[in-house]
């Protein structure tokens, strides 16, 4: 570590590796850099003021009130200290010059005793790992309305939780994907009236297909969640102002007069078909967009995430990991981007190892193995009520799906997903862990559809 205090730093001071993004992927990258032998300066930059925390519980245990924020911390300060991080929380990277590996930073607040070497302006790096994740999508004008929430960050979740804790509310959830469904289950558990609105006719259709989506719909209905298919056209507010026009096209949105009034509070959601859904609270769960706007270097491709090669490299010395990274999956043969918790960690580790291998090749004295393509078996899970859903491989974008409901009342089911004659993904609800692991083995690499179907029937005893 370099000297601090008096005098200028030595001219030969080693450049740091900077990890931009202090959530699961960024933390995994930082830890892996240290574990793999990087003992030079290591900067971890997070735009939120919080120590690295875990996001999946935000829409589950935290929203329910079962956990407090400290349970979401991925590491305690005692666990972070040995990493010797130059941890810059509440700090935002505003630019990256890829050719010189130089970051531009907005100064922020460091957290003692980890605070060290803070500097404004630019940070010339030996390497950079970008793990800035995604930001929640919203609707025009929603940010000015009291009672309209998103759910991406801890602060988001705490704000929504505080409103739900008031009790007896009508909650309209816009978006029936994973997040909307999980929040609906929690809000029902807390006794709220919940309406789940989505463009798709069944929940999570884009992720899991119509049949599993239908099974989920049954469960939500059985718990008295109202399911609506529709497109949001605008909000109604306590002052009677309506907003709308253009949510769908992105064009021509007009802000109603009085929209800036601090007292504006949502009272309902209006759908394009004219339906009015009364609401005390609205959760927008309409997806997210990769946090790449700060990456304006024209040498970087930032269409739907930061484009990377099979090694998670976006440019020499520049790597990406987690929700923000769109990389060439060597097994599936096309660029993929996952907003899955497991992928965040695995890709953070892979990007760190590959960056070190590259730096070793550039003559920096660190022990490093060869670079390896990042070829994970994708995995996601979702908890709704008593349902635990687990999926491996690719389930979205399938052109063929076969769903076997093993026990409708007990909500036990298995589904196979495929594309171009090849099975690419599998999903299980309510299966014992040994069977789930067997399903993973079936789909670890794409296999011919018929073969996968036979193996799944064997694994689940459903033949």
């Amino acid at each position: 570590m370099s000297e601090h205090g008096m005098g200028a730093p030595p001219a030969e001071a080693p450049r740091p590796i900077a990890v931009v993004g202090a959530s699961a992927a960024g933390l995994a990258a930082a830890e892996t850099l240290r574990r793999s032998g990087w003992d030079g300066p290591l900067v971890l930059i997070g735009d939120e003021p919080h120590l690295p925390y875990d996001r999946p519980p935000l829409s589950k245990q935290l929203l329910l009130g079962a956990w407090e924020p400290d349970r979401l911390l991925l590491r305690t300060t005692d666990q972070l200290d040995p990493l010797g991080l130059d941890l810059r929380l509440g700090t935002r990277a505003t630019g990256l010059d890829a050719a010189t590996r130089t970051l531009t930073l907005v100064d922020g607040v460091g957290i003692p005793p980890l605070e060290q070497g803070r500097e404004r302006g630019s940070l010339a790096c030996a390497g950079v790992i970008i793990a800035t994740g995604v930001t929640a999508r919203t609707l025009p004008g929603a940010e000015h309305l009291a009672g309209v929430h998103t759910l991406r960050t801890l602060d988001d979740a705490l704000a929504l939780r505080a409103r739900l804790a008031d009790g007896g509310r009508r909650l309209v959830i816009v978006g029936n994907g994973v997040l909307g469904c999980e929040a609906a289950a929690v809000a029902r558990g807390l006794g709220h009236e919940v309406t789940l609105v989505g463009r798709a006719t069944v929940p999570m259709a884009g992720t899991v297909g119509a049949e599993i989506g239908g099974l989920l719909a049954e469960e939500h209905r059985a718990r008295s969640v109202r399911l609506r298919t529709g497109v949001v056209d605008g909000f109604e507010t306590v002052n009677g102002f309506e907003t709308g026009n253009g949510f769908e096209t992105g064009n021509g949105f007009k802000t109603a007069n009085g929209f800036e009034t601090a007292g504006d509070r949502v009272t309902g959601v209006r759908l394009a078909d004219g339906t009015r859904l009364p609401a005390d609270l609205v959760l927008l769960a309409i997806g997210s967009e990769p946090a790449v706007r700060w990456l304006t270097d024209p040498s970087l491709d930032t269409v739907d995430g930061l484009r990377c090669d099979a090694y998670c490299a976006a440019a020499p010395g520049i790597y990406a990991a987690g929700d923000v990274a769109r990389w060439d999956h060597p097994v599936h043969g096309r660029p993929l981007r996952f907003e899955h918790r497991m992928n965040a960690t695995e890709q953070g580790m892979a990007a760190a190892r590959n960056l070190l291998a590259e730096l070793a090749g550039e003559g920096i004295d660190i022990p490093a193995p060869d670079r390896r393509p990042f070829a994970p078996v994708p995995y996601f899970w979702s908890d709704q009520y008593d349902i635990k859903m687990q999926a491996y491989g690719l389930t979205a974008g399938a052109d063929r799906t076969e769903t076997t409901v093993l026990d409708r009342d007990a909500r036990r089911a298995v589904a196979l997903y495929g594309r171009d004659g090849t099975a690419t993904g599998v999903l299980a609800i309510g299966l014992p862990p040994r069977q789930v692991r067997a399903l993973r083995a079936v789909i670890a690499t794409p296999v011919p559809w018929e073969e996968a179907r036979d193996r799944i029937r064997t694994a689940t005893g459903s033949g």
């Binding site: 960690t345 580790m349 995995y379 899970w381 635990k388 687990q390 014992p432 862990p433 692991r437």
Partner: protein
């Protein structure tokens, strides 16, 4: 090496069992992680560290 689990956090991904099957298992009824060996021998340590690092619920804690 000493391992502790937070079973409330466990999301039953089963990744730890794939990586270190001699140290971790899953309960049949709900897939929650089970510890087979809370002080595994040295040859297991790398796998256990990998399992702890990769656990998507941060449910595995290791004391060196």
């Amino acid at each position: 090496m000493k391992i502790t689990l937070d079973t409330d956090k466990c999301c039953a991904a089963g990744q730890c069992v794939l990586i270190a099957p001699e140290v971790f298992d899953q309960r049949d009824e709900d897939g929650i992680v089970v510890l087979l060996d809370d002080a595994p021998p040295a040859e297991q340590h790398d796998a256990v560290r990998e399992a702890a690092a990769i656990c998507p619920a941060a449910a595995i804690e290791i004391q060196a």
